[in-house]
Amino acid sequence: MSRITKSKTIKIDESVLLCKNGCGFYGYPAWKGYCSKCWREVFSKESQQHDAAKQKRGVQPFGRRQSPQPAPVDAFSKFEEKKKVQSEKRKQTVRSIFKKSPQNTLQEPMAEKSVRKVSAEIQQIGEEFADFLKSLRKPEAALDASKQLKYFIEKIQGMPDSPVEDLSESVVNFYQSLSDRIHSKSIYKGLSQESVDLLMDYAEKYLLIRLYRVLFCPLTTDDEDKDLAIQTRIRSLHWINVHLLDAQIDEQQGNVAELIEKAITSIIEMDTMKAPQQKLECIVRCSKSIFECLRVSKGAPASADEFLPALIYVVLKANPPFLQSNIQFITRFANPNRLMSGEAGYYFTNLCCVVSFIENLNADSLSMPQDEFDRYMSGEAVPHDPTKQYSCEGLRLMHQNLSSLGELRSQLECLMAEALQLQQDNVDFKENFKREIGAVMLRTPLVLKPRKVKVNIDEEEDSDVSSRLPPPLMPEVVGVGGILSQPMISCNTQSSDFNESNNNGHSPDPVEFGEFSSHDNPL
């Protein structure tokens, strides 16, 4: 096994992906973990045992029952698979394993669940569609549209064995006739262009989610064989790196590796989606991540010249499950307008090109001599990758983690230093504060003054105080001295009152006030 693959993939128990019969092909949850051929065999046995009435829905009764094959077969197949895994050690990208294995390892409960999940999906889109129709506020149009759809779905369900080309044609014709109907029938009048577009969109989504089982990878086609062929092909091309493709991806830089992983995840997610819109969204998301990653790598937005090689690289790394089936499903049943133009159509076209490039890839397409290509294909040699410093993904991750930990540490140290500084500042501040207060206290000592006693004016007359007071003013006298002398007394009392209440404060000159108070309170 090459070192390159080891660096990019991990070992897994591939038995969880393979057909339960151990024939070497991949199993699929919808077929209870068998590949399509074995499933057909098992299914025909099944149907012989049971009466024809129950066969109508194929998977449904089958999913409920436990496999009629006795346990030994199962055990044997597992043993076979293990042997196969050990001898071949075929590998899969990390993500596709994560996606696929849970479905298969929990085979029995999941098979039941997936049936339920599908119906839940149908229910959800049904509800969404119904809500949308309600929001149109055109009950007649809504009724007509849903009638058309219902009729058409029944029609398609009634012809499961017809060639896929016919099915595709009927579906595409249905879009056209529905669109014509919306534009010509009077009950649809008054709908905005936007609503019409949405209506068409929902119709497509609803239709294809309902009919997904019938239309995706139909048994009448060789889609599954093609899926397996491209999967094997991609696996045999594991040695191709970014340099051989001239893809300007610098995985050492910034978050490029992360963005590549994001793109890989998006493209793998495509298979989990049902409606073509959702599948196309995944492709668009994947493409956007690639553009972002190219932008980071070369510091400028990428063009188509750089995008295509990068997409090839991502598809090779992702090895998306059911790639051909998904492409075929979109090509056959999505609204053709969507694919002809528009952003999603553009990226989808690119994906189709990538697949055809991978299928036809030879020494010439990588500009290398034939014998070198052959050596890589046979696994004799591994192309040199100058940017690959690490022989294994784990090491790379570890190194990356170490560096980010180092970064974190320095950040932490910085933070710690700042915290200490802050603590020190706090202490200093407290000290300063205290010193300041001390200084102020020293400058303005607290002087307690004797309480003022209210002077009883009536008493005053009896005491000798009155003798010391200036003689009563004569009302007849109108002069400067007389006017001034009376306010002087009241002024003095006022300021001394004020002074007392402020005594604890920082009065600038207590002595002066003392004079006043002594003046006012002679005894």
Binding site: P301, D305, M340, S341, E343, A344, G345
Partner: protein, 188 residues
């Protein structure tokens, strides 16, 4: 300026060798400007873009598809121009090699493209022709007569100065509207 992905009336494909000025044309299309320092902040990638054009009170949305020009991917290029209303075949005015490739592309489109797919022959980097050190390699008359032979239109552009770029896109939009009018007339 950018519009939703579903609302596009016509598809226009950019063809041509790598570095033949396709990308700059696409950038111009998306941003209506050219930055010589290749510092486009607003867009992540410039491989696809859709723009609105107003022609004779009609609104049309034109989607521009950039393609990978490397010979490596040539065998798949027909997938791109399938369903395209027009193909913009680009070559550098200062590079003979790219001119030969452009002629090849034009042939490809004529033989393998959709029937009625219009061809626009675009000579790029017209600003370099006047500069010393980069003499013109393809004379206007040569290109023009070839274009006439294949019933294509010929335009010389510069994405750097913007010479003829907007005019070219507007012309395509006008041609499209005229073409559609002709078609509906023919049907009636």
């Amino acid at each position: 300026m950018m519009v939703g992905p579903d609302k596009v009336d016509l598809k226009v494909v950019l063809l041509g060798r790598e570095y033949s000025g396709k990308t700059a044309l696409a950038h111009r299309y998306l941003l209506q400007k050219f930055n010589p320092h290749m510092n486009y902040q607003t867009t992540v990638g410039a491989a696809y873009g859709a723009r609105k054009f107003e022609v004779d009170k009609q609104t049309i949305f034109m989607g521009l598809w950039d393609t990978a020009g490397s010979e490596r991917y040539e065998c798949m290029s027909h997938v791109y121009y399938h369903g395209a209303w027009a193909a913009l075949v680009c070559f550098e005015l200062i590079d003979r090699e790219s001119w030969l490739r452009a002629r090849h592309w034009a042939n490809e489109v004529m033989t393998r493209g959709d029937e009625g797919c219009k061809i626009y022959l675009i000579g790029t980097k017209a600003d370099l022709v006047t500069e010393p050190g980069t003499p013109r390699k393809i004379e206007y008359a040569t290109a023009k007569s070839y274009a006439d032979d294949i019933r294509a239109k010929y335009i010389e552009t510069s994405s750097k100065t913007g010479q003829n770029v907007e005019e070219m896109y507007c012309m395509i939009a006008e041609d499209y509207v005229a073409d559609m009018a002709k078609k509906t007339k023919g049907e009636n």
